[in-house]
């Protein structure tokens, strides 16, 4: 049953991603000009002109002189067999640029995810069970503060404090001595010494709503008769809460994963730019600015796929957790 559902959902991703690819291509082509006009603009800034014939030669080499449908077809037919095409800017294959950044992007996302859900769950339960107490107000206050502060600003503040009080720039993902070294336990520790800022900044942004969702759902359940009955029968309070109302209240908390996954990806772009993380976000931004079609398109497709996978994971988790959920 579950397997069939899983396969059906996977198959549905194909037409969906196809539609996404059209949107992505159209969006990248939407701003005026192409890679070469942007290139000319950069050249002119450094006070250098480029002659028309050279431009035409490059335009032909990159296939930018063809019509848009032809350019799209060239891109999508390559993509279908796993060829992301060439990055115009770097003269290397787009995939070779993307692949080195993918693992760290996933590490950042999953770590943030675990952090946010792991912290929000106990706090949400606590603030529901102890509603309108000082503790509830305190966690709610900080939760909302995190929600209201733009990610990049929080990142800048943390970086500034680092320089101001510790005299170090805390951006990047590795210390100089570990950069370019093979993986080791020490390197992983070094990674998390840097990564916690990003996890914290990205995590706090979604923490508040997760806490509120958990709190509201649990409050609904806590006033239901079965809770009162169990309590009347003398069941231990924490055991009762964790075993029955929390399990039911968990459903929306899980299904929200699918919604927050894309938010996590897009929120990470600006934050990663500020923090200087070598993840996909900043690469996407710069390739979009340069109108480096194949690179930008490849990254956007990967990000969309991640979002779709995120949705799928949340649906499957929900089905596993709650027997009432049907597979159709």
């Amino acid at each position: 049953m579950l397997l069939r559902y899983f396969i059906r959902r996977l198959l549905w991703m194909i037409p969906f991603l196809f539609v996404v690819s059209i949107v992505v291509f159209a969006l990248i082509q939407a701003p005026p000009g192409d890679f070469l006009t942007t290139y000319v603009a950069k050249m002119a800034e450094s006070n250098e002109g480029i002659d028309q014939a050279t431009l035409e030669r490059m335009r032909e080499q990159y296939g930018l002189d063809r019509s848009l449908p032809v350019q799209y077809w060239k891109w999508i037919s390559g993509l279908a067999v796993g060829d992301f095409g060439q990055s115009f800017e770097w003269n290397q294959s787009a995939w070779s640029v993307i692949k080195s950044r993918l693992p760290l992007t996933l590490v950042l996302m999953l770590s943030t995810f675990i952090f946010a859900w792991g912290v929000a769950l106990p706090i949400g339960i606590y603030s529901a069970v102890r509603k309108y107490t000082v503790g509830d107000y305190v966690v709610t206050f900080f939760g909302f503060l995190g929600l209201a502060t733009p990610n990049f600003l929080l990142a800048l503040v943390v970086l500034y404090l680092g320089v101001r009080f510790f005299g170090v720039h805390m951006g990047g993902l590795f210390s100089d001595e570990y950069e370019g070294e093979p993986w080791s336990l020490a390197k992983v520790i070094d990674l998390y010494k840097h990564l916690w800022i990003g996890i914290l900044v990205l995590g706090t942004a979604i923490l508040a709503s997760l806490i509120r969702i958990m709190r509201a759902n649990l409050l609904d359940e806590l006033s239901k008769p079965y809770v009162t009955t169990a309590r009347a029968k003398g069941m231990a309070e924490w055991k009762l809460i964790l075993k029955y109302p929390v399990r039911i209240a968990l459903n929306p908390f899980i299904s929200i994963i699918g919604i927050y996954f894309p938010a996590l990806i897009s929120g990470a772009v600006v934050t990663a730019v500020v923090l200087g993380y070598p993840t996909l976000g900043p690469l996407m931004l710069q390739s979009l600015l340069a109108q480096d079609m194949h690179l930008a398109g490849g990254i956007l497709m990967i990000m969309c796929s991640l979002t779709v996978v995120g949705m799928l994971i949340s649906d499957i988790l929900l089905a596993l957790l709650d027997p009432r959920v049907r597979y159709d």
Partner: protein, 639 residues
């Protein structure tokens, strides 16, 4: 020659001269000495040329070791590397940007008509892999690439083409090569010193020829294996070219630079870029120590300029100016100097103006075109700008009212071009506008064009380049309103700005006006010669570049300047070149096409207090790709 470039009041004395001394015993970095001992490297005397270039350090003889830490932006920042390593061409600029001095060419002779240049290379110079650098490498460029239609298409680099004919080369012996043109080319030595004419000595024949079909009949299999479009694409990926990031992406490419790429090269997936010393570098100091002193140069790859600023404050950058010169950051640098342990460098601004106004003289609208092409109208606009107010409010009191052309103190400084109509005189401006017959006004007090439309136009500004322009335009709009002229600020994205230029779809645009220290190398404001830069008359530039086939026919004054420019380019005598260029400036001053606000303030850079032999003041320009000509290979860390 000194006279030609003399900058008078701006002249710097960096005390950095090269003298041919004869050092017999050479020293080398400890790591290289060990490699020699282990038999991995030939001895230093064999790695150096027979007569290496001797560099006199700025302050004192340095010691070996250390890593210079810098920062790169993630995208299109290849010139960050180029400017620090310096374009190692046949010639280079002396540190004060006043004359051309020998670099890879030890000396040269120029024929009387300046059409033939005989260069003597330093005998025994080696590429970074140890292979000899000879006249054959120069010939490889000239014979196999310059004239190769697959490589350059129909357009070989303009700096090597005179009267439509590309340069030719003749090998006199292994270390002597003669480069010839069909007509005189008086500017050639200067061009070779810019960052844009390094090709003759960029490509090592013994390595790069494997990607060339003339030398490798099976190049196609390499093209296929690499997934490149053709051999030219493959060649550029492996051996680079000017102005593309791939130049710094292949650690196997032999170079003549002080530092060479390592496995952490500049590619799209780089998170850090590391260059290490070239064991075959061909310069020594006055005591025979092989340069460079510093072991490595390391660039962190940042996405955000602010993040670089924070690194400066934390003392994690050893020398940098690029991406750091936003004026709003300057107070922050001063405040944190002690904490960060750095000094602040002064970089002499090479621009003529902080904010130049380019009224489109090729305007499509016939009514506006007529108005824009009237000199009195432009004078009125200039007189209507309250420059002191803008300098005080927007530029924090830095700068003095100025128009365009060479900066005061430069040999080519033309007071009329620089200072005319900079006074604030709205009454006279209004009189001039009345004199043009623009006397009718509408209910809001704006002047009307003869066809009854309001005299109104847009000014395109790119806020991401200089946010000050947007603030200054607020003031200028008000000041011009007092003349009865309506202008609106149109903030545009950079690409759109150029698109509007290409399609001749703009009325006025703002740009900083280059050519203050390098008027002959950046003449785009006094002559419509630059297809993207001469924004006051892009259609004239098109006409000029296409030989009259394209664009619009320029004014008589501009045609006279084109003739003078042709004369200038072919003139061999430096004194005469100077006189010709003065005439060009005078024509431009009389035509009064481009005007501006103020001389821009100098730029800043920072350097670690431990880093020595760095001049505290040097020019900042693209044509003088700072800090390259100050010779970073002689910087060193104090122990």
């Amino acid at each position: 020659m000194t006279l030609y470039w003399k900058m008078g009041a701006l002249a710097l004395s960096l005390g950095l001269v090269t003298t041919p001394t004869w050092a017999q015993d050479y020293n080398e970095a400890p790591a290289l000495a060990e490699a020699v001992k282990a038999g991995k490297l030939p001895p230093v005397a064999e790695r150096l040329p027979a007569k290496p270039e001797v560099i006199t350090p700025v302050e004192q003889i340095g010691t070996y070791g250390g890593t210079i830490r810098r920062g790169l932006r993630g995208s299109s920042d290849h010139n960050n590397i180029l400017r620090f390593l310096s374009p190692q061409g046949l010639t280079r600029w002396n540190p004060d940007f006043t004359e051309v001095v020998p670099n890879l060419a030890e000396s040269w002779e120029v024929s009387d008509d300046a059409s033939e240049y005989t260069f003597h290379l330093r005998e025994g110079t080696k590429w970074s892999d140890g292979a000899p650098f000879t006249a054959d490498d120069v010939l490889f460029f000239v014979n196999d690439l310059l004239t190769n239609a697959d490589f350059y298409g129909s357009a070989p680099p303009a700096r090597f083409v005179i009267e439509g004919q590309p340069m030719t080369a003749e090998k006199i012996d292994d270390y002597t090569v003669k480069l010839s043109f069909v007509a005189p080319y008086g500017q050639f030595l200067q061009e070779l010193a810019t960052p844009l004419a390094q090709e003759p000595v960029l490509w090592a024949k013994h390595y790069c020829s494997q990607f060339h079909p003339t030398y490798n009949s099976d190049v196609q299999s390499m093209v296929d294996a690499e997934g490149a479009a053709d051999w030219a694409d493959l060649f550029r990926r492996k051996c680079g070219d000017l102005e593309i990031p791939a130049r710094w992406g292949n650690p196997d490419r032999p170079t003549l630079d002080p530092w060479v790429a390592t496995d952490e090269a500049y590619t799209g997936d780089a998170t850090r870029v590391v260059f290490e010393r070239n064991p075959y570098f061909w310069q020594v100091d006055t005591e025979g120590n092989q340069l460079p002193y510093v072991d490595k140069v390391r660039w962190s790859v940042e996405q955000d300029a602010e993040s670089l600023v924070l690194q400066v404050l934390a003392g994690e950058i050893d020398m940098q100016a690029r991406h750091l010169d936003a004026s709003k950051n300057i107070p922050v640098y001063y405040e944190n100097q002690e904490r960060g342990g750095y000094d602040i460098l002064e970089r002499l601004n090479s621009d003529a103006n902080a904010m130049g106004f380019y009224l489109n003289l090729n305007e499509k609208d016939p009514e506006l075109n007529k108005v824009f092409n009237s000199k009195d109208f432009r004078i009125a606009l200039s007189l209507g700008i309250n420059r002191d107010e803008i300098i005080d409010l927007v530029y924090l009191g830095q700068g003095e009212p100025f128009q365009i052309g060479a900066r005061p103190g430069h040999a080519l400084y033309n007071e009329q071009l620089g200072r005319q109509f900079t006074e604030y005189d709205p009454d006279r401006a209004n009189e001039l506008l009345d004199g043009l017959g623009l006397t009718e006004r509408d209910a809001e007090g704006y002047r009307l064009l003869p066809d009854g439309k309001r005299l109104s136009f847009q000014v395109d500004v790119i806020p991401t380049l200089q946010v000050e322009w947007v603030d200054a335009m607020e003031l200028v709009n008000e000041q011009w309103k007092a003349l009865g002229i309506e202008t609106t600020t149109n903030t545009v994205e950079r690409t759109l700005y150029y698109e509007r230029g290409d399609s001749n779809d703009f009325e006025m645009q703002v740009w900083n006006a280059p050519g203050g220290l390098d008027p002959t190398l950046s003449p785009r404001n006094v002559m419509a010669v630059h297809p993207q830069g001469s924004r006051f008359a892009l259609q004239w530039a098109k006409w000029y570049l296409s030989g009259g086939k394209d664009g619009m026919e320029p004014s008589d004054s501009m045609k006279r300047r084109y003739d003078l420019f042709a004369e200038f380019k072919s003139e061999a005598d430096l004194q005469k070149q100077l006189e010709i260029f003065e005439k060009i400036h005078q024509e431009a001053a009389d035509a009064f096409e481009v005007f501006g606000v103020a001389l821009p303030a100098n730029k800043v850079g920072i350097k670690s207090r431990k880093l020595k032999n760095v001049p505290m003041s040097f020019p900042a320009a693209w044509m003088y790709p700072d800090p390259g000509p100050t010779l970073p290979q002689q910087y060193y860390f104090e122990k």
